[in-house]
């Protein structure tokens, strides 16, 4: 699939412009590519390499390190059931087993209709609300087998479309720094003195 669309290219350039070095934008840009296509396409990686001025291999190197980046299609909904300690103490393994049974797939698999991919996730920082899960990174707390059944029914029926965007979209709000408020960004080697407001006599 695709290089970045014109609209996403504009967003990409805005993101790159915030960093002292272009490559710093790479992880956010990989998210942008995944948001566009639902996964990180090879052409998109080539495009990002051009934008941040590194080789495509370097983009792949970064991309392949991080678990959220998928290099092939996954389901519209990525269901991540936490399996780490606090959740395991609250029955996460049984819960994962139940989801497998219910969906007829194993952890790592995708349902035949392409709707749901199931993963066993590591600690999701909701340990007091165990067991927990995320659907496209939206939380569900103190989840029972019945909760999962209801959730999957809702996903199939499209009742959660307003709350849960398709896989690839994480945050639905972006930071925008207004040009008139932005501090000019310089490469680190171009800065040789303390910021003007950090007066000489007050340095620590």
């Amino acid at each position: 699939m695709a290089r970045l669309s014109e609209e996403n290219l504009a967003l990409a350039l805005e993101i790159i412009g915030r960093y002292p070095r272009k490559k710093s934008a790479l992880v956010p840009l990989l998210h942008l590519a995944q948001e566009q296509d639902g996964y990180v396409a090879e052409d998109a990686m080539v495009h990002l390499a051009e934008l941040v001025e590194v080789t495509p291999a370097e983009v792949l190197g970064t991309c392949s390190f991080y678990e959220m980046f998928k290099r092939e299609h996954v389901g519209r909904y990525l269901v991540n059931v936490c399996g780490t300690m606090s959740c395991a103490l609250a029955g996460a393994d049984e819960l994962i087993h139940h989801v497998e049974q219910r969906l007829g797939i194993k952890v790592g698999g995708t349902t035949a209709d392409g709707l749901v991919t199931l993963e066993r996730a590591e600690c999701q920082a909701a340990c007091t609300e165990a067991p927990c899960l995320q659907v496209n990174y939206r939380y569900r707390y103190r989840v029972t087998a019945a909760d999962v059944d209801a959730l999957l029914d809702d996903l199939v029926a499209g009742r959660l479309d307003g709350e849960i965007p398709a896989h690839g979209v994480v945050a639905r709000v972006r930071q925008h720094i207004p040009a008139e408020r932005a501090v000019p960004v310089q490469p680190p080697e171009a800065v040789t003195a303390a910021p003007a407001w950090f007066a000489e006599e007050s340095r620590t």
Partner: protein, 468 residues
């Protein structure tokens, strides 16, 4: 406020009759909006800071002994002073990559009070001469990212962030950055690598502190979300008011998540240094005891990387030095409680599997060692282990951590504590952390491993589950 008040909009958080520094606004459903923030002393700490020279603000933070809340507990004011003179620019990187097993506090702070964090970033930048701030939020935290993006957009529009803040000549950008799923990126040099667009692998040490050589090779302060979130209160009320709470060595408050087999798991802002583990686990204002009247078997006092404690350690205060001397660490404010029904070898496997999975692969002892620890534990838990496996586990562990390994004392076993920390052959703590649960479980509950090995012909594979 009565003891044990909860709020549907802040799942997990429990308020009580205790001083509240960082969670004071959590009772408000709209605590994340600029409107609510401004109505509750918002940005008053920044105004107070800007009225003083930066060095004064730094001195105030240093005298408050604001201990880092990310894991190591290093005082923020001292860390800021480690930057070399005359090297510019200096950067601030805020570590919001919370992912240590059992830890749930930074996400609450980002979701419930993003402006408090933003104000804290501005105060830190002003005090230490940092010219740009990167707020690194864990990739999986969609709502935290949205709340921070909205808050930053509001704060820029209102003149709190960016060029000529509040009409002064203080100018700094705060850039929202987000990760993509890698526990090891919580290690500060790996965080910097990730922020440079690379694979998130920790850097070789020395240099030990990014304050000397950090982002783009420049002096960089990496502080935890909770640490930074303390700054607005600290600047509004002063170091004396801050140190009046808690103890001399550990002043202020701390956020602690208590999870596992307790009646009321929750996230509490506790008085630093004086609250004991017994208070936390059994206190009516806190967790109210072990679930169903069960018996406490063991607990993890400071996140998955911390050596385990048993009932012998309940009277210890939640205080860094004391807990270190007793053979563990406070880490990231995460207590995980196991009752007597817990399958100890399976629990150890669960945590070791986490670190084996999250090993970045840079250091051989971690990449190979953690994986082998996981495999050996797997076969023991599956009932296919041998007596030799227990020595093999310790042997593999010794290749990651040569020398004495920290553990708690135990009256039952006649053990005296070996203090934290340990020697290590890896450049970050992921490798040793894979051995921590193995060592703790084997030291305190060797009989359970031996029983599992002896029963191996009859046990079912389902025993790999941690029973409820």
């Amino acid at each position: 406020m009565t003891s044990g008040t909860t709020f549907p909009h802040a799942p997990g958080y429990v308020a009580g009759d205790r001083p509240r520094i960082v969670t004071a606004r959590f009772e408000f459903e709209d605590s994340f909006t600029l409107e609510r923030y401004l109505a509750t002393d918002g940005y008053a700490g920044l105004r107070a800071a800007l009225a003083r020279p930066p060095a004064d603000v730094h001195a105030e933070v240093r005298s408050a002994t604001l201990l880092g809340r990310g894991g190591a507990g290093f005082p923020a004011g001292v860390k800021w002073g480690l930057m070399p003179q005359g090297v510019w620019p200096r950067y601030l990187v805020v570590n919001g990559d919370e992912s240590e097993p059992g830890t749930y506090k930074d996400r609450l702070l980002m979701e419930r009070d993003p402006h408090q964090l933003i104000e804290g970033c501005l105060i830190a930048c002003y005090a230490a001469g940092l010219s740009q701030c990167f707020l690194y939020v864990r990739g999986e935290m969609a709502v935290a990212q949205e709340r921070l993006a909205t808050a930053l957009n509001e704060a820029y529009a209102a003149g709190f962030v960016g060029r000529r803040i509040l009409g002064s000549d203080f100018s700094v950008d705060i850039v929202l950055h987000w990760g993509a799923g890698a526990y090891v990126v919580g290690e500060e040099t790996a965080l910097i690598e990730s922020l440079e667009g690379n694979r998130g692998m920790p850097r070789l040490k020395p240099p030990y502190f990014p304050a000397a050589i950090g982002l783009y090779g420049k002096p960089t302060i990496v502080n935890n979300v909770e640490t930074i979130s303390n700054l607005p209160w600290l600047l509004r009320n002063g170091a004396a008011a801050y140190t009046a709470i808690g103890t001399e060595a550990s002043p202020g408050t701390r956020m602690v998540a208590v999870s596992g087999h307790v009646e009321r798991p929750g996230v509490y802002e506790i008085v630093n240094g004086t609250t004991t583990f017994r208070d936390l686990i059994y206190g009516e204002a806190f967790c109210g005891g072990i679930r169903g009247g069960n018996t406490l078997k063991a607990f993890v006092p400071g996140g998955g990387s911390a050596p385990w404690f048993g009932p012998d350690q309940l009277e210890l205060p939640f205080e860094g030095r004391t807990v270190g001397a007793a053979g563990s660490m406070l880490g990231s404010g995460a207590v995980m409680v196991m009752d007597h029904t817990t399958d100890i070898p399976a629990a150890a496997l669960n945590l070791t599997r986490f670190y084996a999975h999250e090993s970045c692969g840079k250091c051989v002892p971690c990449r190979e060692g953690a994986t082998w620890l996981e495999r050996i534990l797997e076969r023991i838990v599956a009932g296919e282990g041998s007596e030799r496996d227990l020595e093999l586990l310790l042997d593999v562990g010794a290749s990651i951590c040569p020398g004495d390994f920290p553990h708690a004392s135990s009256e039952r076993l006649g053990l005296t504590a070996v203090p934290f920390p340990y020697k290590m052959t890896t450049i970050c703590f992921v490798g040793p952390s894979a051995f921590v649960p193995v060592h703790s479980a084997l030291t305190l509950f060797r009989d359970e491993f031996e029983a599992r090995i002896k029963r191996r012909t009859t046990i079912a594979v389902t025993a790999s589950r941690v029973p409820r």
